[in-house]
């Protein structure tokens, strides 16, 4: 059985002017353990809302989301808290997603404090140091505040925080879009390494087909709240079935050579 199963999720929002916006329209997909599903779409496609539903931050109007057999919406408080340990998130804006008044080591430690309150502080510090090392953060940044770090380092902190409880699923919402070109590769390679080591599944939300070409097992293309095409990466990229997918592929600005 797949690790994450989303079945017919629908979410409608009421707009201030009285109209209703169907942000997510009967979206279904599955995610197997250790694999990456890329959710590709432009602004307004609903991909971000789907991510929030999977995280349990927004309850869908209808449909089901199950992680490891446990349903996300409608879960009891205790069940939901247990789920939160198993699914984490990395956001797009590295600086915005970190509390400016917390030191890096405390930011990374927080999920441990919430889900393993019984863990002795020495063990916790050790875990934090170990994870920081794993994501490539030098020891000296642990005592610093987010604003003292570069964008790439800030995103590593976000990733460290996301992996510290060893979750089974990580939702990544455009994790490299706000980073410099030369740093993006570092972060993408880090994500790939972590996945190989921990067998984590990724729900990788992005607007950029080119970025996910190498890390995604499957791609789902969203537009206007619906999934217009879905399938293994190579199939979608090499023989796109839907016109919108073809448009997206055509819009990727290619370099003359592959370097």
């Amino acid at each position: 059985m797949a690790l994450l199963v989303a079945d017919n999720i629908t979410k409608t929002f009421a707009l201030p002017n009285g109209r209703r916006l169907r942000a997510v329209d009967e979206v279904s997909f599955t995610l197997e353990a250790g694999q990456t599903l890329a959710l590709i779409g432009e602004s307004g496609s609903g991909k971000t809302t789907v991510g929030r539903c999977v995280l349990g931050l927004i309850p869908p109007d209808s449909g089901s989301i199950e992680i490891g057999g446990v349903s996300v919406p409608g879960a009891s408080r205790r069940a939901r808290k247990a789920l939160r340990k198993d699914i984490s998130v990395v956001f797009q804006e590295p600086y915005e997603s970190l509390n400016p008044r917390m030191r890096v080591k405390n930011i990374i430690a927080e999920p441990l404090l919430i889900h393993r309150p019984d863990m002795p502080s020495a063990e916790r510090l050790e875990t934090v140091a170990h994870i920081a090392n794993e994501v490539g953060l030098p020891d000296r940044v642990l005592d610093r505040f987010p604003r003292e770090l570069s964008g790439g380092q800030q995103q590593r902190v976000g990733i460290a925080r996301a992996v510290v409880t060893n979750p089974r699923v990580i939702v990544l919402d455009e994790p490299t879009s706000s980073l410099d070109l030369s740093v993006r590769g570092q972060i993408l390679n880090l994500l790939a390494t972590l996945q190989a080591t921990h067998q984590t599944s990724y729900l990788y939300i992005s607007h950029d087909l080119a970025t996910v070409g190498h890390i995604a097992t499957n791609i789902a293309v969203m537009r206007g709240g619906c999934i217009v095409e879905q399938g293994p990466t190579q199939d979608v990229l090499n023989s796109p079935q839907h016109e919108y997918t073809r448009n997206l592929l055509a819009a990727v600005l290619r370099l003359p050579t592959l370097y």
Partner: protein, 327 residues
């Protein structure tokens, strides 16, 4: 049309002087689109903003010259600059909604631009000119757009409006600072096509600042790569993309996500420009470095006609790159 000669711009911060632009030489000819490429901290935005002196109060040009045609811009008075802005130089910023006044109907904003030449224009004339211009940038109902407000437009449409406003007075130079970064990819292509077309019709020079090498490869004639406030490589797009002659350019090219290969990574990050290193600023991240790089800053010299690189090993990069692929 535009010549930057040995430009130095600094920002005064509580921590000291940030040397954002360090001796930049740049030329853009009429009818040519130059892609100015760099990451954060490269100085590309500071360079562009220095041209029109759109720097924050902490920024100042400390040395060098900026010539537009035969006008020297660095010594212009504030009123002189105002004459230039909008009229001889158009500016397209990253966020279209930042450039448009939210409370004025769009035709009034067009009118204000037209009025800045000192001419009186009535509503009918504004609409006439505006409708034609908006129609030419691909807006289907220009009359309605002109009568309406900025927030009624999508990002793509707003950027089209901004582009047409910047071209209204038929400038000699158009500066575009990441004009499509905030837009969806499908819209990006259209906007860039539009910009290129209009610039060529006008015969204006254009500097397109971007971090996206794909944009440069497809829409620019020449490219200048910036790192740590210096131009590290410049030349025609064909030359530079065929045979990059600087390790940074090569690394950047490898970092662009492209279907068909994994993304390469470059370790470390751009330098903070509080103090300027003696040798090459790219040294800490360069895999082809030699001892000379630490002691002597490489000058920008020709690799071939019209193709310069600021690297001691500029002639060897092609070979080094092939050697890398083979290993």
């Amino acid at each position: 049309m535009l010549v930057l000669d040995n430009l130095y711009t600094e920002f005064v911060t509580p921590n000291g002087h940030v040397h954002a632009v360090n001796g930049v030489d740049l030329q853009v000819k009429q009818g040519e689109i130059l892609g100015l490429v760099g990451e954060s901290g490269s100085g590309k935005s500071a360079t562009i903003r220095s041209v029109l002196r759109l720097l924050p109060p902490s920024g100042q040009i400390v040395k060098g010259s900026i010539r537009l045609g035969d006008t020297e811009l660095t010594t212009l008075s504030a009123s002189g600059l105002r004459q230039i802005r909008g009229r001889r130089v158009g500016f397209v910023a990253q966020s279209p909604f930042g450039a448009l006044n939210p409370i004025l109907p769009l035709w009034k904003q067009f009118r204000n631009v037209l009025r800045s030449t000192g001419e009186r224009v009535d509503r009918a004339t504004v609409f006439e000119i505006g409708e034609e211009l908006l129609g030419s940038v691909g807006i289907t109902d220009p009359k309605r757009v002109l009568s309406g407000y900025a927030h009624e437009l999508s990002g793509g449409m707003a950027q089209r409006v901004v582009i047409s406003m910047s071209l209204l007075l038929k400038p000699d130079l158009v500066l575009a600072d990441e004009p499509t970064t905030a837009l969806d990819v499908t819209v990006q292509k259209q906007i860039l096509e539009l910009l290129r077309h209009r610039v060529q019709v006008l015969g204006a020079a254009c500097v397109l600042v971007t971090h996206d090498l794909g944009v440069v490869a497809n829409y620019c004639d020449r490219i200048a790569v910036m790192y740590a406030g210096k131009i590290v490589e410049a030349g025609t797009v064909a030359d530079v993309f065929d045979e990059p002659a600087h390790p940074y350019t090569l690394a950047l090219l490898k970092s662009v996500p492209q279907l068909g290969r994994p993304v390469a990574s470059l370790p470390g990050g751009p330098p903070e420009l509080l103090t300027y290193p003696t040798g090459c600023p790219f040294l800490p991240r360069c895999k082809f470095a030699i001892p000379l790089c630490a002691s002597e800053a490489p000058p920008s010299e020709d690799v071939s006609a019209g193709h310069t690189s600021a690297c001691h090993r500029r002639a060897e990069i092609a070979t080094l790159r092939r050697a890398e692929v083979d290993t």
